[in-house]
């Protein structure tokens, strides 16, 4: 039995132990498994998934309203009027509930809205002829593709309240491009203006409103998700039963099947922490003069 001093975890002294010696008392003593692990709850996941479903519903609603406009079920004044009413209601709501979106400057906001409307009105003839020569099949494929890109790259973190800045240029551009593709099939320039106004409202303005709504009242947000869900089904029903079923299936996939999979896979979670981790520098300057 060798009478040697206890092994120390140091490198500056040559110790009477072979180099591949392992002191099992201290080896991997600093290893922490699954330390900061918060387990996902199924109900929480289902409720949180409504943010994705909202986006899908909005896309479905937009496409169905476009279709109704195309077959002249909705007239242009009705469309522009209702879009304006929804925008004004949303604006009033955000001002009343004290969000910082509007910046409390009514004149500036009204002015920018008017500028926006005039630009869309001015650009409508251009937008209408932009994708006119493209064949209808290609238009359908392009629209679907770009709405899929829009859904994939959307900033859901902002919508659910995790971050404070909306940053999803790819998704916004994809949505606007998809609407431009659609708009070329419309009968007149006024229709183009109406649909583009709707597109701007849904894809550019509503994220801020939804973010604020979620922060303001959790349950109001959930109620609005239900309303969007019901409206999409109601609007799609008269267009095509196939689309309605596709919509319902995709929503249930996101809200039911995905949470089940995620909760099931928690058992494989293996977060490892130890002294080898790159430190997170704390730059808080709390120092005291003695």
């Amino acid at each position: 039995m060798k009478n040697r001093p206890p092994w120390q975890k140091i490198l500056y002294k040559r110790q009477p132990y072979e180099d591949n010696f392992t002191d099992y008392d201290t080896f991997l003593a600093g290893l922490k498994r699954n330390s900061n692990f918060t387990e996902y709850q199924f109900s929480q996941l289902v409720l949180d998934s409504t943010v994705i479903n909202n986006q899908i519903s909005l896309v479905a609603i937009f496409i169905s309203i476009f279709y109704y406009t195309l077959i002249q079920s909705i007239t242009t004044p009705v469309l522009v009027g209702s879009t304006s009413i929804v925008t004004i209601v949303g604006y009033i709501f955000s001002v009343i509930s004290g969000s910082s979106l509007s910046g409390n400057n009514l004149k500036a906001n009204v002015r920018s809205m008017i500028i926006l409307l005039i630009s869309i009105w001015g650009l409508s003839p251009v937008l209408r002829s932009l994708t006119a020569p493209i064949s209808e099949d290609t238009i359908i494929v392009l629209t679907l593709l770009f709405f899929a890109v829009h859904l994939y790259f959307q900033d859901y973190g902002y919508l659910i309240g995790l971050s404070e800045k909306y940053f999803a240029p790819v998704s916004l551009n994809a949505a606007i491009f998809a609407s431009v593709c659609l708009v070329s099939r419309l009968p007149s320039t006024v229709h183009v203006f109406a649909i583009m106004f709707l597109a701007i409202e849904i894809f550019a303005l509503s994220p801020m409103l939804r973010h604020h709504l979620k922060k303001y009242s959790y349950w109001l947000d959930k109620v609005s998700s239900l309303i969007l869900f019901a409206s999409s089904i109601y609007l799609l029903k008269n267009i095509s039963l196939v689309f309605t079923w596709m919509y319902v299936l995709s929503v249930s996939f996101i809200s039911v099947i995905c949470p089940i999979c995620l909760v099931y896979m928690q058992r494989y979670k293996n977060i490892l922490h130890g002294p080898w981790d790159e430190a997170i520098p704390s730059r808080e300057k709390v120092f005291f003069k003695e």
Partner: protein, 431 residues
């Protein structure tokens, strides 16, 4: 030179001095191709393979020319053991694999710490699990923390991993207290200026220290993307006369910068083994460092002051260090240098590496079947099939090469016996 290259050069030189034959294989560097001899007697093969990304060559694992080149070199030089370094080197991984299949013994040295959470770590760990678990006979790590990290991420047996620390050339890093400014305390920082080296923390601490201690000056050497942060700090707090930014310092001049200082500061967020603090201690400086990774194991407590990687704690440790120096409470620089002399030397590293090599001598040759079994146990269902295909391809190419270029027809290289080197008036003769 980077830390790993220095390690390779010094280790090879010491192994050669101990009577071993060492040959280094690397890829081409710009125009530098072919065979070169370094003054220590080391023969370097610059293979005609160009790097394609980030100084790494393309991992042509089953490219016949790569295998043929390697086989040729290994047979010519009568190599017994192949030692690969650094997880980031594609060439090391590739050559370890190919030489193991050819039947040579392999060793791997890991120089860095890895996390587990991000994509690059996950992929690299998977690959290293294969290399270290199946194709390497023994693994060497540079610190005990590095050993723990390697064992966990490679899923290895602890007895297959040895800890052999890095070292420094202490003859080059000698103190010179006359170079210090007697009227002020100088703090030296020499590091790459990147996020990983904690430059944000450094930029926070500098104004705090300068305000608290009016006779403290800073010398900062090194370059990198975070240099702008330090320059901003200098601008904002008007420290132009107290803070010197030297830019990139060549390794040959590092000692000249170090001896001008009283204290050396290291703020890294992660280090497997920090050679910089050993170099600083060898020059007689008092070291202040963040206690991350392998740093707590490197120097004894009376030569280093450790801090948590936070601005507050680094400030406290620096204050303690400055007070110690100004009160004359720190050891004489030559005393410190002599202690470091006995702690880390490349001869020691070479001797311990030789112990690893001799242990390999007794290892018996593994058959292909045994290797395939180890492979399937090591990787998952899909991984093992994929790597199995690569293994078979490599064996197939080797058989073809053995037929086309049989071993008997390959010339043996002449060994350069440097012991008989005589230098007369700048002419070298060999007897």
């Amino acid at each position: 030179m980077g830390g790993v290259e220095l390690h390779l050069y010094q280790l090879s030189s010491c192994l050669i001095k101990r009577g071993n034959k060492v040959v280094m294989i690397t890829h081409a560097y710009g125009d530098r191709k072919g065979i070169r001899y370094l003054s220590s007697g080391l023969k370097v093969y610059y293979l005609p393979i160009q790097p394609f990304y980030n100084q790494n060559s393309f991992p042509g694992v089953v490219v016949p020319t790569n295998i043929a080149l390697l086989r040729n070199i290994l047979i010519r030089e009568k190599i017994e053991i192949v030692h690969g370094h650094q997880a980031f080197s594609t060439m090391a991984q590739e050559m370890i694999f190919q030489s193991k299949v050819m039947g040579y013994k392999t060793v791997f040295t890991d120089h860095s710490l890895f996390g587990f959470a991000d994509v690059s770590s996950i992929l690299t760990n998977r690959l290293l699990q294969l290399t270290m678990g199946v194709y390497v006979s023994h693994v060497i790590c540079v610190s005990h923390t590095s050993k723990e990290n390697t064992v966990v991420r490679g899923n290895l047996d602890e007895r297959d991993v040895s800890v052999i620390p890095n070292a420094i050339d202490y003859t080059r890093f000698t103190p010179d207290p006359k170079q210090r400014d007697k009227n002020s305390i100088t703090i030296v920082v020499i590091t790459r200026l990147t996020y990983r080296k904690g430059i944000d923390l450094l930029a926070d601490v500098i104004p705090l220290i300068c305000e608290e201690f009016p006779n403290v000056n800073w010398i900062i050497g090194g370059d990198g993307p975070k240099r702008i942060v330090l320059e901003e700090t200098r601008e904002n707090y008007q420290l132009h006369d107290r803070m010197k930014l030297l830019g990139n310092v060549e390794h040959a001049h590092v000692r000249d910068v170090l001896v001008q200082g009283d204290i050396f500061l290291n703020c890294s967020l992660t280090e497997a083994f920090c050679i910089a603090i050993v170099e600083a201690a060898s020059c007689g400086l008092l070291v202040v460092s963040t206690a991350v990774g392998g740093v707590p194991e490197v120097l004894p407590d009376d030569m280093i002051l450790q801090a948590e990687p936070t601005t507050n704690d680094i400030f406290l440790s620096m204050s303690e260090a400055i007070t110690k120096i100004s009160e004359g409470d720190f050891l004489n620089p030559f005393v410190v240098h002599n202690r470091v002399r006995n702690m880390y030397s490349w001869y020691d590293v070479a001797e311990r590496t030789e112990i690893v090599y001799s242990r390999l001598r007794q290892e018996k040759q593994e058959t292909h079947q045994e290797r395939i079994n180890r492979l399937s146990k090591n990787q998952g269902a899909y991984g093992s099939k994929f790597f199995f295909v690569i293994l078979i391809a490599c064996i197939f190419i080797l058989r073809i090469l053995e037929y086309l270029l049989p071993e008997e027809y390959i010339d043996e290289a002449v060994d350069f016996d440097h012991r008989h080197k005589i230098v007369h008036n700048n002419i070298e003769e060999v007897q």
